[in-house]
Symmetry: C2
Subunit: 206 residues, 2 copies
């Protein structure tokens, strides 16, 4: 791989960092070019518009998230509930990694962009909705597997639980960001929701 | 009240509308002056900086929220659980009002600004954290009252429940905004979390 593809990757990584540590709209294409050490003409060769770059940043984060969630699911334990806890921990671990790298909780890359851009760019909003829907779909698969293992209390709807968990992920990360809290609090907050839906005898052993 | 104080109020209301329908950073002071029909010199007489205006917009929304939450709490019913449901409905109703006025779910005014500004303006972040903390505090008072009424299943921590509910409010509204969902889904999503913490015999009668 030569200089050219390196430049494209440098742009995406610089933008990902600047969007997280500041915000998408606070960062100009000049800022990104300076951080990535590329010329503006080169930028437009890779990304005809800032929206195209935002999409690439979303895809970079999404790809890392699927790896982390799938690995947690595959190695998280014998039961679906343990796998679900491991997936929650994986999401907390990504926030801890951001916190270590940037010195504070910087928010969910998808949630941040959704809050900023949903009302002003329908195409980016759709792209973000797809990623956020995919998080819920991955959680729902494991929540449904836990039904087959008799883990949930009577009346718990696994799809509703996955929806709540997905919303709680966004809300917990956003509140940690605005409160200046520690990323270590995020995983346990998600565990608490899952634990509250378990049958007492299941909760006692996980 | 003369023209001058009207102008200050027009600026705050125009900014509140533009921040919700677009985003804070997408809206310039020129945009706000045009929408409020005031001259730029007049703007700076009321608000030395955009941050001062953002603070006034937050306070406008917060004042409306306290009225709605307190009224729901005071008229919501005989039990703390019913009052908590009424407070969740009041939050859903504010989103429905925004949806009717703006044609779509536009997000939580505090959550939107927190996502956009927390990393770039510590003072505004603190102000938003105080408002979001006050929502949690108001929910926690009622969650604790429900402990005294024996509403929760064993092991439920009312302060943790208020924290989860506060996070779920943010996450549910954000996901409704990005998914283009209906605001009517927000209240029931919050009910579902509360209901899941109730003892079976309490859940059967609320």
């Amino acid at each position: 791989m030569g200089r050219v593809s390196d430049a494209g990757e440098r742009i995406v990584r610089a933008a990902a960092r600047l969007f997280l540590t500041r915000s998408c709209q606070d960062v100009s294409i000049d800022d990104i070019c300076a951080a990535a050490d590329v010329r503006k003409g080169s930028f437009y060769h890779y990304f005809p518009s800032k929206a195209d770059l935002v999409k690439a940043v979303v895809d970079l984060h999404a790809s890392a998230l699927w790896d982390a969630m799938d690995s947690a699911r595959d190695t998280g334990g014998e039961t679906a509930v343990r796998r679900l806890f491991a997936m929650a921990d994986a999401i907390g671990a990504i926030q801890t990694e951001f916190e270590q790298r940037h010195g504070r909780v910087v928010g969910c890359p998808f949630g941040n962009l959704a809050a900023e851009l949903s009302t002003i760019n329908p195409e980016l909003s759709d792209h973000l909705a797809q990623v956020l829907g995919e998080i819920e779909r991955r959680l729902a698969v494991v929540c449904r597997a836990a039904v087959d293992e008799g883990a949930w209390r009577p009346g718990v709807d696994p799809d509703q639980l996955a929806r709540s968990l997905n919303a709680l992920i966004q809300g917990t990360i956003l509140l940690a960001k605005v409160n200046g809290s520690c990323a270590a609090s995020i995983g346990p907050a998600l565990h608490s929701l899952v634990a509250n839906h378990l049958k007492d005898d299941v909760a006692a052993v996980v």
